[in-house]
Amino acid sequence: MLTVTDLAKRHRRARRPLFSALDFSVAAGEIVALVGESGVGKSTLLNCIAGLETADSGSIAIGPQALDIVRLDESARAALRARSIGFVFQAFHVLPTLTVAQNIGVPLLLCGIPTSEHPARTQALLDGVGLAGFGPRWPASLSGGELQRVAIARALVHRPALILADEPTGNLDPRTADEVLALLLERVREQQTSALVVTHSQHVAQCCDRTLTLTPDGLR
């Protein structure tokens, strides 16, 4: 579902490349943890995979059609993200001016699924993340844990081929973090989606199928 080949990235004005010649893949339905020291380039790698930043060379094939996001232009990348990628951030990023249900509906709209089908799918996911009845509420009235569950629902609602999660539990207390993580992995497994989860937590890494470690010298 995700195949990264010979990937290299150097930030503008940086002296040495952040990483080069990265090769790895994530199979369909596989959940991979990405660990590494702070500042080693984990978020940058995720951003490159999502097409938010441009890799200098190499290729990144995503989804059943194995489209290479490095070679796509900006709008094609956006379209690929809308169809095939779900993103979960450390800082939740739930739109404060839309209701919980509307927040979850946004990816459906971006995929072109008409609003008439939204209630059923949103409902199913809200139930799945334990937020039944939260649909009409405004994000400002939710706790951090609840917000992250909304974000998870939003990442999964359009059944993407790949979930990218950047420290999804970094902002939560340990108990909530465990609950949210369990939920994320459960839903991902249920949908047979691949996932790449950046984490600093040993515990999270252990819950995944496989662990990749990013070091300044490459992947281990």
């Binding site: 938010l52 956006a78 809308a82 939740f92 971006l110």
Partner: protein, 842 residues
Amino acid sequence: MSARCRQTLSWWLIRAQFRSRRAATLLSMLAIALGVALGYAIHLINDAALADFARAMKSVQGDPDAVIAARDSAGSVPLATLNEIARDPAVLVVAAVIETRVRIDNARTPVTLIGLDLFSAAAVMPKLLPRQDPQAATGNILAGGIYASPALLGQLGLRAGATLTLVRGAQQWRTTIAGDLPAARPDELLLVADIAWVQEHFGPADAVSEGRVRLAPDTDLESWRSGLAQRLPAGLLVRAAEDDSARVSNLSRAYRVNLNVLALVALLTGAFLVFATQLTAVAQRSTQFALLGVLGLSPRMRLLQVLLEGLAIGAPGAMLGLALGYALAVAFTHVLGGDLGGGYFSGSAPLIVPALVPALVFLALGCLASLAGACYPAYLNRMQPLAQALKTGFAQGPAAGETARSRLPLLPLLLAPAAFALTQLPPLRELPIGGYAAIALVLVVGIASAPLLTQLVFGWLSERPLPAPQRIALQNVAQAPLMAQVAASGLIVSFALTASMVIMVSSFRVAVDHWLDHVLPAPLYLRSKATPLPQELLAALQQPDAPFARIERMANEALTIDPQRPKVALLVRELERRNPAARLPFTGPLLEPPADMPVVWISEPMAEIYRLAPGQTLQLPLLGRTVEVFIGGVWRDYARQFGAIAISRDDYLQLGGDFQPTDLALWPLPGKETAADAWLAPWSTRYGLEVADSAAIRQLSLSIFDKSFAVTYALEAAAMLIGLFGLAVTLAASVWLRARELATLGALGFDRRMLSRAVMLEGALIAVVGLLIGLACGVAIGAILTHVVNPQAFHWRMSLDIPWTAVLAGALLTLAAAVVASHYAARQATRLPVAQVLASAQ
């Protein structure tokens, strides 16, 4: 992404945006509405006034193929000439018409009396055909009966059969109303009689005012008219219906264009408000838009969404503007008449009829203005780097900003001479296009020099030892230069426009004031409206018992120099050939005329419209022929925008003119002022004359002046409010953007008062920069309005007179308002609990 889904998402976002920023959105909408309303109202009123005039023209003049008339109001068309024209095989009918002004039983205002020949009138002027009243026992039209329009009958409270006396100067005609004019327009005050009877009572016997010609259907009108024009005697001209409408349109054109420019300014300020609102909206939602981008919203859609939000402000605003414009037009025509207080059309209230196409054009203009305002914010939103915006929020400009900034100081230096060059251009199609363009450039120069001054002021301040809150304020501006720039430019534009208007109007008022001093030398004035003063009165004034030390008589005539232009006034006055400056305010050299030549002195507008200069000679259509006269000098005239010519009574008499005074300037004997009033009173009631002292005339003139600038004053106020609001919005947004930073400072131990003072200082500093530049631009624009726009559009010249107290007081008031606005912004930002701001990640 399907169209339906795109619409749904757009709609969600627009609704969210309107909900969270109600005040800003509403005010931008109102500003757009104001611009559209003003432009549309001016259009509607002018359209209605022109249509009204055309209808009135048609009803009185009929629809002739050509009109033969005298060039000067004292002249007339000899019947012999008309008879000759009638022999032309191409001519079907020539209808001879006498048009004159008479007073009915010494009523104050004169009405038009038209003398016509029933048979030819039926072919050319069917609307003027009289209807005999069966009840009226007296004679029909051929027997000397007179016919009144229904409106006039209603006003006089008379019916057919009533007798009345028509008075013109010393002549009187006692006659009977024999019927009415069924086709006359409901507001027309008109009398019709047979031409022979009018000639008998008011003369002349062998000439008429106009010949109205109907040609055979297959005649080429254009070539027939030009052929005739060649053959006509010098004092006559041939006129077509197009000339009449062109003349009317020329009458108020400059005034209209000026008002339209003001409407454009309102629309532009609306665009600016949309800009400020959308820029801050984009800045505040940068993380949200970045998130949407991560979720797969295409860059094109991120651009479109901001434009759509602009349109969502502009379209309802423009719609509201149309409704408002219609209401304004109806209200204004009722209060001020068809010329917005400009004094160009007579006081009728024309009917406002909206048409679809102009309404759509103004709707589109409003939408365009809002789209233009949303353009740059939309572009910024499109260019936001997603990963970075998610992490740290709004990036203030495209990455190329650093090189652009170093080039900025060059821009004002390059544009300022260009603006000056534009002011030197001659008018384009008689409109001061160069002047208007120069004003726009001055504003651009002002906005472009804002970063420079900001850097200077804030750079200088940051080197001083300052307490912490002040230092923070300075750093804030340094870190968010774009927001400071937007806030300052709003103030620059609005203050510059307001100050310039104040400067122009004040210069004008001072000039009019001085001018009135010069042109109203006598303590008392008497005039009759359009009919000559009675001989009886003139004779009585010569008697020794009349309590006047000095009397000057003058007559007003009118000349047509170009049929497409409004008539030029001919003032016949008791002037001394050697010393006209005693009565006329000359602006340039006064030349000694050749002894054997009549001399005239022309007004400034006359000199400019017809490109004449002292020392030249002028072919003057006078008394049915062309007379060569010497131009002795140019005098200032703010009363007759379309030109005036002054000639001495002696020259006029020598040329064979008949001096029939219509106006008197009177100097009562010292100490006999009340006696003079009492002496005049019976005359004024008996002959419907107007008596006014110079103070009253002066006051009336100035009040008319103020009335005609009423629209301008309203706009100034609107501009200032918009500028202040722009400052408040942008300040609030820039503070909001730094809410986390301010909260952090709060957590570090700054108290709320200190923070709020810092924000207020920031607002005040930005306002000072904006006001300083605005003042400079305002003086420059005021000078352009006074020295370029006014002379080119209206032929009014005057010297610049800056009312420093008013302007500086305005600046201080604005500064105070700006501090209040930033206080509000600061309250908004510091009201949030520190913990909440710090906890929220966005």
